[in-house]
Symmetry: D2
Subunit: 275 residues, 4 copies
Amino acid sequence: MDAILTLLCKDQPGIVHSMTTAVLACAGNIIENQQFTDPTTGLFVMRTRIETSESLAKTTKILSEGLSHLNPTLEIRESATKKRALVLVTKESHCLRDLLYLQELGELPVEIPLVLSNHEYLRELVESHGIPFRLLPSGKSEAETAIRQAIVEHQVDVIVLARYMQILSEGFCAAYPGKIINIHHSFLPGFKGAKPYHQAHDRGVKVIGATAHFVTADLDEGPIIEQDVAHVTHSATPEDLVSLGRDIERRVLSRAVKLFAEDRIFIAGDRTIIF
Amino acid sequence: MDAILTLLCKDQPGIVHSMTTAVLACAGNIIENQQFTDPTTGLFVMRTRIETSESLAKTTKILSEGLSHLNPTLEIRESATKKRALVLVTKESHCLRDLLYLQELGELPVEIPLVLSNHEYLRELVESHGIPFRLLPSGKSEAETAIRQAIVEHQVDVIVLARYMQILSEGFCAAYPGKIINIHHSFLPGFKGAKPYHQAHDRGVKVIGATAHFVTADLDEGPIIEQDVAHVTHSATPEDLVSLGRDIERRVLSRAVKLFAEDRIFIAGDRTIIF
Amino acid sequence: MDAILTLLCKDQPGIVHSMTTAVLACAGNIIENQQFTDPTTGLFVMRTRIETSESLAKTTKILSEGLSHLNPTLEIRESATKKRALVLVTKESHCLRDLLYLQELGELPVEIPLVLSNHEYLRELVESHGIPFRLLPSGKSEAETAIRQAIVEHQVDVIVLARYMQILSEGFCAAYPGKIINIHHSFLPGFKGAKPYHQAHDRGVKVIGATAHFVTADLDEGPIIEQDVAHVTHSATPEDLVSLGRDIERRVLSRAVKLFAEDRIFIAGDRTIIF
Amino acid sequence: MDAILTLLCKDQPGIVHSMTTAVLACAGNIIENQQFTDPTTGLFVMRTRIETSESLAKTTKILSEGLSHLNPTLEIRESATKKRALVLVTKESHCLRDLLYLQELGELPVEIPLVLSNHEYLRELVESHGIPFRLLPSGKSEAETAIRQAIVEHQVDVIVLARYMQILSEGFCAAYPGKIINIHHSFLPGFKGAKPYHQAHDRGVKVIGATAHFVTADLDEGPIIEQDVAHVTHSATPEDLVSLGRDIERRVLSRAVKLFAEDRIFIAGDRTIIF
């Protein structure tokens, strides 16, 4: 079995030693190992990939016992088991298309059991990929209830807001910490309000970008997962910026979902640690 | 004579035709020509490089008369005449060093007749390059008077704030529109207040950048000239970010000064057009 | 009518003046204008967008007559008329998918009347987008005859090799100069032979890229249209490089086709000039 | 004491466990740890930063004994001990200036005990920074003897070819494996022969770059340490490319030297692993 272990705990002496002792106890061989101590929070995080002839259940038992004195957040899964992503969209298709394309190509190791939307607009596109599409009911509360049901029904690991143009309630966000990924445009300097690409154009920015981040209840923009930018010139129209922005958004969101799918993201306070 | 013409006027039919007619009238040959109509302001801008056997005075006369019906802002200079840059610094040397280095190498076609500072800290560095260094008097008003005198005394074309850590008064800024270039850090998202690199670290940004812009009296950050960014990871300490930021700042400021020195920047409202 | 004029001729005095005179003669207003003199070949190229109330036929007549003394290569088309792109593929879908996606989104102003392939593999994908798919016959000569027929039949403006894994004959390439666009991977340093991404991995490159270029009969790689790169680390497997390479290839090819579709590419010797 | 341990050995089970056991044995605390198994060579490399109250001598003894069964290449040094870099130059100053600037600023943790050159050209610059400058004798053999003497005399850790325009003999290269860092330009595609920037211009490349690499006796270009690129357009003259190339070269070489100075580079066959 090839397995991914992720561990997060308070930094303290002997963590790596405890991990390697436990891995040896299940006759495991470490294939990859990355670790980091976050200076801001004092948290230690580690991602370890092992090979072992033991079962997942036995490996989990040995590791949990061997590391319990660290009081860690510990997760162990078989590498072959794909995470399940619920995708929420509205009308814009660029992010959704990239997720579907990369997932079909085998580059994005997730299953997409369902796409939810507050519009019928993208039903045909989704269903043409053999993936169920479901229209959300009107009303924020009704919609969120439907999303929660879908999460349970499909044992969803991550909720991907692929240009879902509704603000989720604080209660909803708080219920899924570190499980909701959003994408939005980013500028130097930032702009508030409507039509941000037009504002960016009117200020003559030379760089535009996009940020994929976790959604949190109390932060305007939660822990940042991935960012990218492109250079632009004065000759770009607002429409050019929108078009280029779409290109950046789809890439950044896909990369963030891939990082999640491979257990490469850790949250330490307001920051992420990415392996 | 090789000359650079820059023209800015309200967009209207026949501008290029008028320019080419006037250039033919002084037996000039167009070597380079770039033009742009800014959709936000309706301004037309053009940068033309010509060769002519006429003198600068005669060329200026013919072009001014031939284009006067456009009511333009028109500038003509010999390409060989370098712009004169007054550099203001405080204690940090990275931007100053890059300007001095590129100017010595011949890549930055400016003369630096004087460096002013509110600290003695960089005197030795400046003087070792054979450039006069002058300490500004205490007091914002006294300092600005001294800067204004230096501008007149040295026929300065552009004031470069190479990490000059004093805010210039509104009156000073208003007196030199489009003539003061500043550099500062930029982040996605932006941060207010002190220690911005530490704030950026604590929010786990994945991209940091710098912006060179003109200083204006009424805008927090005037028209943007140049921006650049670098990718960073969670493993960068705040000190790493500061260090990387310095590297971006010096490159972005030097590029902005070079663009100015080559008459490649036009201001249209809050935007720049860069050729 | 909104029209795009492109002009290429030997550099000589008075070109811009002749153009603006001719544009005035058809009551045209210049919306955009870009020009460049290539120092290597001594060629002058200009792309001009005009508005005029005259018809295309009359505008073409006036401009052709007014510029005939320059002996130019002159093309005039209505901006609204889309170029027609014939796409050739084999088995890999990433470039094709991006072209289809961007064309549907309206960001790539081309018509794709037909996709040709030497394999059945991508038929379903193409037809699901409502575009005819045709299998090429076996044998290079038979295949090229079929491609030539399709070019005539569909009045094709550009042939896009979207990972078409067959080498075209010299005769075919020579018949369509500046009309065949190819995409391939690029590395620092370059690698010859099979499995280039594996070779790049074994040499530990830190940057990989892709190049879109015109295909010529006598040059290993014709005039370069567009290039882009991505940074990689030692931890990337050969498969990661292949995957990242696909991402760069699709973006670079789509950008090159868009530049062609907007008449922004001029060929001067072995170089392109891109507006 | 804050120490950096670097370990390279054949990949085998239990390496990390052995390391952590040995670190505990010297009452050390792991501050940073990075490891990687190179799939091409089967080598395991690890860079570990520890804090310990033991002396360097005792720490070295405990670790060497505790890890000896792995038959590793093991190095241990106090973080505060700077590496010593011998810099070789000819006439171009851009790389040298960046090294001097960053070293003075404290961002490049090296000592530069001496600069050697086959020209007098840069003596003044070097000596103005308080660093000894020595002219190499004529003749490749005589020059290399002088370099070898300087290496011994100044206990040099790394030889930096900062635009040193002489080819070193095979014997010299073989004597300092993994100790000689060179910088050169890189293009897509590559160009052979003289005036590479002019060749790149004539082929209309859209990207230029630079590569820092170790020098080896038998490889045209040894293991790559760092690469970077910049985008260029048709309007760049060959001189512009040369100028931009200098900017990339100085940054890439400085980064490579910094990586070396911080023990972040491992060589595995023809590749580097960079932490």
